[in-house]
């Protein structure tokens, strides 16, 4: 069975190389996501579920309008899910295996910024269309111009700028701030971007001298919570995720932390659902886009379809990563359909990429535009809201949700985001 798939994959790849006009029944697409390890629960599995749901719907032609046409340029997608755990070096090896051994037509996914940085040069080397789904580092498209790599998720600088805007909009009396972030690239960057954004937008606010950077997956945050409690800063920024945010919230709760402090969390959405009514009210929560908790009751038809079908199939609400993976799959479908129409037959990789470049589409979570990095990097609004447990529904909700538009939180095309942020975000329209 497996042997046959591999052979079929090889044959398809050969066919793809031969020319544009050969119609296909199936396309093989490698989808990388965390299937084991600490990132599987909060990111990997919700991401895989989101992809799976949408792939099945596209294959069957059951997506709502305007995407009701079945297939990817008429072909069914055969997803090959691979585990993103095990380090970047292993992922680079596995990426090569997907392309060179299994002959996939495209690769989607990737959650870790490190992995995205690692596979991007390999994707360029092997000339294989690759759509990054979740990872946040702006470096992927700002260190070099890419040809074969796209990202349907906006980068992390905007998440932190939106967080600073939300804080300044909603908590006008906030005079100083601190943070607790994991001591690795994501945590360091998230706090740095937030800190710079705060200083540029409100120079009168004071950054704590003592923001906390515990080790990732530390699990015990007693000391850090005590230090933060003694700090005069009332606002606490965190980019914790997965088990770490759950552990932090539970340990902070018993110490009465949330009575004194205002916490703003950029990606802690999974904990809101997993802790349910134990999750404290009043925490500012972000989802890196128009996703998850913030749009759960949004009746926009694509979103409503996604939430309902996801809930039916997996007995859980879709989280940020579910949307992010679903959006990558959808982007590929739209590009392939458009390319097929233009080419008058099944599109080859170049035609699909040309259609994907600069694409702007209505996704499951709002409108996404590939408008940066010469049409390869997405921008979209990023929002925050305040958590509130809805007793009647028995579900978590978000109130006071506010979205910040792309022109407010991202550097204009061609500029380095970090330099732009440090220059005080010239030309930002909020």
């Amino acid at each position: 069975m497996l042997g046959r798939t591999v052979l079929a994959g090889g044959a398809l790849a050969a066919a793809a190389a031969a020319g544009p006009a050969i119609a296909k029944d199936t396309i093989n697409v490698g989808i990388a996501t965390f299937l084991s390890g600490p990132a599987a629960g909060p990111f990997g599995v919700p991401g895989r579920n989101g992809a799976e749901l949408v792939i099945d719907a596209i294959n069957a032609g059951t997506l709502p309008a305007p995407y009701a046409k079945a297939g990817f340029a008429g072909a069914k997608m055969n997803p090959i899910f691979v585990d993103e755990a095990g380090g970047n070096a292993k992922q680079v090896g596995e990426y090569r295996n997907l392309v060179e051994k299994r002959g996939v037509d495209a690769v989607l996914g990737y959650i870790s910024s490190g992995t995205c940085m690692a596979v991007t040069p390999v994707a360029e080397e092997l000339k294989k269309l690759t759509i990054l789904s979740v990872c946040g580092t702006p470096r992927v498209f700002e260190e070099a111009q890419r040809t074969y790599v796209f990202r349907t998720q906006a980068h992390a600088v905007g998440d932190s700028i939106a967080a600073a805007h939300y804080v300044l909009d909603k908590f006008k009396d906030m005079k100083s701030y601190t943070g607790i972030n994991q001591n690795y690239a994501w945590g360091q960057d998230s706090y740095k971007f937030f800190d710079v954004a705060m200083q540029k937008m409100a120079p009168e606010t004071k950054a704590s001298e003592n923001p906390q950077f515990p080790k990732i997956f530390a699990g015990q945050y007693g000391t850090e919570i005590s230090t933060l409690s003694l700090d005069s800063a009332k606002l606490v920024h965190t980019s914790f995720w997965g088990g770490d945010i759950e552990a932090f919230v539970l340990q902070a709760l018993v110490r009465g932390f949330f009575n004194d402090k205002q916490v703003i969390s950029s990606v802690g959405g999974s904990a809101v659902d997993s802790l349910g009514k134990k999750f404290p009210d009043g925490v500012v929560m972000g989802t890196r886009g128009e996703y998850g908790l913030l749009v759960r009751d949004n009746k926009e038809p694509l979103n409503a379809w996604f939430v309902e079908e996801y809930k039916k199939r997996y007995d859980a609400y879709p989280l940020g990563p579910s949307y992010q993976y679903a959006n990558s799959v959808l982007a590929l479908k739209i590009a392939m359909d458009a390319a097929a129409e233009k080419a008058g037959g099944f599109p080859n990789q170049e035609q699909t990429m040309a259609a994907l470049k600069g694409l702007s589409w209505q996704s499951f979570g709002g409108k996404i535009s590939l408008s940066l990095a010469d049409g390869h990097q997405a921008v979209h609004p990023v929002g925050y809201g305040i958590t509130k447990w809805d007793k009647e529904k028995g579900a978590a909700t978000a109130v006071d949700v506010k979205f910040y538009q792309p022109e407010c939180i991202y550097a204009p095309a061609g500029q380095n985001s970090v330099e732009w942020l440090e220059a005080g975000m010239p030309g930002a329209k909020c």
């Binding site: 084991s36 070096a89 390999v122």
Partner: protein, 319 residues
């Protein structure tokens, strides 16, 4: 020197074997070429562990040198733009060797679990430093994108594959000659009875220091080769304790019977992992771990013990 080496049956067969592999590489599909290249790179480090293991020492911290080698290559490219494989490879060995030489003064006084744990501790210090420092790439690391050979900028990975094979042949020859020398012959003696070795007039500490230095250089070379083959360095894949664990894993899987064993074991490991990953994306670790258990139970001498019998037979036939 060359004649002495050529007279050694193991070296002769290894040179022929590697030569055939280099020729076969021309025809192999890229994914196999890559996996063999990763296997050979890791095999260099395992060869270093074999030198220590024959003395009864197990290091759970050779990712320190593996990582130093890999980062030496990556930082050299990033900050100086030097891309020549010989320069990069030399830098990797030099940096790892320098650290190995210094730490050797401490580690040569320890044995057994203390040696294993202390080396683990040193490697995790480097891990901690890398993760916390943004100039060193933090957890994201860097990519290593280019390589040149004496100014020639080759297309594809085949020339690098040949370079790594050359490195393996040189390393294997040196280690084999070392193990056959008087100093190398002390290897097993030290494991069996240190006191008697001292009475023979040799310094055990010094002998262990030399072994440690050799193994550090080999692990550094391995890290350098891996960084070039893979095109990426980051702390989790190059310096974390799991990397040291993998190297020990391959050492046990290969067996200490011959200097060829590490390379065979490491290549088997790469393919085992690739297929485990393909067959069971959610439980591949289980397959890899299960294989190690099976080898410990049924082949206590490692994969080499399967090959050893026909090998030994040929030796007697020829002799």
């Amino acid at each position: 020197m060359v004649a002495t080496a050529w007279n050694d049956k193991t070296i002769r067969w290894a040179v022929i074997g590697f030569g055939l592999l280099a020729a076969a590489g021309w025809l192999l599909p890229t994914w196999i070429l890559n996996n063999v290249m990763f296997g050979l790179a890791r095999g260099l480090a395992v060869l270093g562990l074999l030198v220590l293991w024959r003395t009864g020492l197990v290091s759970f911290g050779h990712a320190l040198y593996f990582g130093l080698g890999a980062y030496a290559v990556a930082l050299l490219e990033k900050y100086t733009g030097l891309t020549d494989v010989f320069v990069k490879f030399g830098a990797a060995i030099l940096v790892a060797g320098a650290f190995g030489f210094l730490l050797g003064f401490v580690l040569r006084n320890y044995r057994a679990i203390f040696f294993a744990m202390l080396s683990l501790a040193f490697s995790m210090v480097l891990y901690g430093v890398l993760v916390k420092m943004e100039v060193l790439g933090s957890t994201d690391g860097f990519s290593v994108t280019q390589y040149t050979i004496f100014g020639w900028d080759p297309e594809g990975k085949y020339p690098l594959f040949c370079f790594i094979i050359l490195a393996c042949v040189v390393a294997l020859t040196i280690v084999q000659l070392y193990l056959k020398s008087a100093l190398g012959a002390l290897t097993t003696a030290i494991r069996d009875n240190e006191l008697r070795v001292e009475y023979l007039g040799y310094s055990v500490a010094r002998a262990i220091h030399i072994k440690y230095l050799i193994s550090a250089c080999l692990a550094g070379a391995a890290g350098g080769a891996m960084a070039m083959a893979l095109g990426q360095v980051d702390p989790d894949s190059m310096v974390n304790w799991t990397v040291s664990g993998e190297l020990v894993f391959i050492t046990i899987m290969s067996g200490a019977g011959s200097v060829v064993a590490p390379f065979i074991g490491a290549i088997v490991f790469e393919f085992l992992r690739t297929y485990a990953f393909e067959l069971a994306p959610q439980a591949w670790q289980l397959i890899v771990g299960g294989t190690l258990l099976a080898i410990i139970f049924f082949l206590p001498g490692g994969i080499w013990s399967v090959l050893e019998k026909p090998w030994a037979k040929r030796e007697t036939d020829n002799g």
